[in-house]
């Protein structure tokens, strides 16, 4: 699957998409869901929680593993995707539309620290086998 160029990526396999209102939607990459397998449970951070960039803030659980979610940038959690919480398989089916939570970013410069699609492709390829 091609890696969308309309967003950025963390080294911990979250994608981050800057939306029109300035908030950042966060989800798991295709590569991450492929490595984890069938998703059975998503535990997003609570709305209102203040996160630091790189902070552990939730858990995604597949049939074979449980893995932490990390905040790609600092900020407050402003929304959580109930639909994905109720049907975690959306992360497998449409990883790039199944956002898990949204952050109102504190510091716009942190965005620049994230990987672009090309750099993430290189990272994913290096981990693939």
């Amino acid at each position: 699957m091609t890696i969308p160029t309309d967003r950025r990526y963390s080294k911990t396999h979250e994608w981050a998409k800057l939306e029109a209102d300035g908030n950042i939607a966060v989800g798991l990459t295709h590569h991450a869901q492929d490595m984890l397998g069938d998703m059975v449970f998503v535990e997003p951070p609570a709305t209102g929680r203040q996160l630091a960039a790189g902070e552990e803030c939730g858990v995604v659980e597949s049939v074979k593993s449980a893995s932490d979610l990390y905040a790609p940038v600092s900020g407050a959690v402003v929304a959580v995707n109930d639909e994905v919480e109720n049907t975690p398989e959306q992360i497998n089916q449409n990883p790039y539309s199944a956002w898990i939570f949204k952050i109102k970013p504190d510091n716009p410069t942190e965005w620049d620290n994230l990987l672009d699609a090309g750099a993430y492709q290189t990272l994913a390829d290096s981990e693939a086998h």
């Binding site: 059975v40 449970f41 609570a46 659980e61 597949s62 074979k64 593993s65 449980a66 932490d68």
Partner: protein, 468 residues
């Protein structure tokens, strides 16, 4: 085949290979001050000598008529329980690592979970934990994880004192604070009047023992509803046999308890030097991902055939390492197997009749003891199969005098509850006959009356070679 796998030659060879002179050298990094030193063990005995020693020790137990409960209860265990549990297929029933290859073990665990869920009216049960006390500690950790904010838990003084110590030992390093709730000195139950002082949102959970350590019934509906109004989870700590008569935790108050734990020993495990026992734990569906331990589930394989599997394992330590939900992964497979057989043999009616017989015996015992001059029943709240009485005689003296007459008269409460000096907790399960109860009352009366007459009782003082 030698019982000790390494000969001196083996050890020398292994040490030589890694360049160490002695085995002790391998532990050099542990400071000398932390070494246990000489344990003072006697010289090794032969098998024949050991058997003889154990037979001698075992004989010391036999003549006693037991009225001690306090967390471990003497029940009739049908002979079939251990006859079946002792079969080779069950007897090495540790949690299997290649789990799905052991379908029989998994099915046993699944049946056990189903029975516990039915007994407690919880949505799910795990495959057991070490014992009741550590199960309560796990429930406290679970409630704090689920609450996410508060790290304080209300723990009534009416919870078994050893359980409270165990919980404290396990949770203190995780910065969880246990706050003791006082009990009503006349009723012997957790005081509803004093709850208001703990209202608010700073507690993750309230623990409710049923029956409590004094054998008394707590006001479980009121306590449960109060805790839920404060945003706390409710952790029920129950005696499984009592649930044959009492309302199951899942039906307490308007919403039911959130987590239920208990000591499984009364379900088929003998009183044998304190163990092995097992803990059980159930919870509401919403909390299942916070629950520690193993869960066996029923499923179908790729060809549609029914089978059993370990499920919800992704948060266990072999996958999540230091981030695991709990470091308790194991269960008490053998004890659980016995309990499953025990429950299957008794059935719901058998458990209810056992519970009724226990209650009836303790009620009749207390009625008899209450007629003994100098004996005062303590507490007024209804009880299940334990109750407290007091006298003016130091509890230790009274219990020693009863033991000399072949009666284990109960558990002295003064150590754990200084305000209950001279108070004794007694238990009469279904194993006691009318004659047993009479014998207790008669001996107690004799001891108390002699004691009140003066120094004759000093004859009962133990000497150096007394066995009691």
């Amino acid at each position: 085949m030698p019982f000790i796998p390494h000969t001196d030659d083996d050890i020398r060879e292994m040490l030589g290979r890694i360049g160490a002179n002695t085995v002790d050298q391998l532990f050099d990094e542990i400071p000398a001050a932390l070494h246990c030193g000489n344990l003072g063990l006697p010289p090794a005995l032969t098998e024949m000598e050991t058997t003889r020693l154990m037979e001698t020790r075992a004989r010391q137990d036999e003549p006693y008529l037991n009225f001690i409960g306090a967390g471990a209860y003497e029940h009739h265990i049908p002979a079939a329980v251990w006859q079946i549990a002792g079969r080779g297929e069950f007897y090495t029933a540790y949690t299997p690592y290649q789990a799905e290859a052991s379908q029989g073990t998994l099915q046993t665990l699944y049946e056990f979970q189903t029975m516990i869920a039915a007994l407690t009216a919880m949505d799910v049960s795990n495959a057991s934990l070490y014992d009741g006390a550590s199960a309560l500690a796990e429930a406290v950790l679970m409630a704090v994880r689920a609450h996410k904010q508060a790290r304080r838990v209300l723990l009534p003084a009416t919870v078994h004192p050893f359980w409270r110590q165990t919980v404290q030992n396990i949770v203190k390093h995780q910065h969880i604070e246990l706050v003791t709730l006082p009990y009503d000195p006349s009723g012997g139950h957790t005081s509803l009047e004093e709850l208001a002082a703990y209202a608010g949102d700073s507690f993750a959970a309230l623990v409710i023992p049923q029956p409590n350590f004094f054998g008394r019934l707590e006001a479980v509906d009121e306590l449960t509803d109060w805790a839920h109004r404060q945003g706390m989870a409710v952790i029920a700590a129950v005696n499984p046999v009592a649930l044959g008569l009492l309302k199951p935790p899942g039906e307490w108050g308007e919403q039911g308890a959130d987590i239920t734990v208990g000591e499984g020993q009364p379900l088929g495990a003998p009183l044998a030097s304190g163990g092995p026992y097992f803990g059980f734990m159930g919870c509401k569906q919403a909390l299942v991902r916070q629950m520690p331990g193993r869960l066996a589930g029923r499923t179908v394989d790729a060809e549609g055939r029914e089978g059993f599997t370990l499920t919800l394992q992704a948060r266990e330590q072999h996958i999540r390492r230091g981030k695991a939900t709990s470091n308790i992964c194991t269960n008490q497979g053998l004890m659980v197997t016995a309990a499953t057989i025990h429950m299957a043999l008794l059935g719901p009616n058998g458990i209810a009749r056992t519970a009724a017989a226990c209650h009836d015996n303790t009620r009749r015992l207390m009625a008899k003891l209450a007629t003994v001059p100098g004996i005062r029943p303590v507490f007024t709240q209804p009880f299940f199969h334990e109750a407290v009485f007091a006298s003016d005689i130091p509890a230790a003296d009274l219990l020693r005098a009863l033991a000399a007459q072949g009666i284990l008269g109960g558990f002295s409460l003064g150590d754990a509850y200084p305000e209950l000096e001279n108070a004794i907790l007694v238990c009469a399960t279904e194993t006691k006959t009318e004659a047993d109860l009479d014998q207790y009352a008669e001996q107690l009366e004799r001891i108390v009356s002699r004691r009140s007459q003066g120094p004759a009782c000093t004859r009962l003082k133990p000497t150096a070679d007394s066995k009691w």
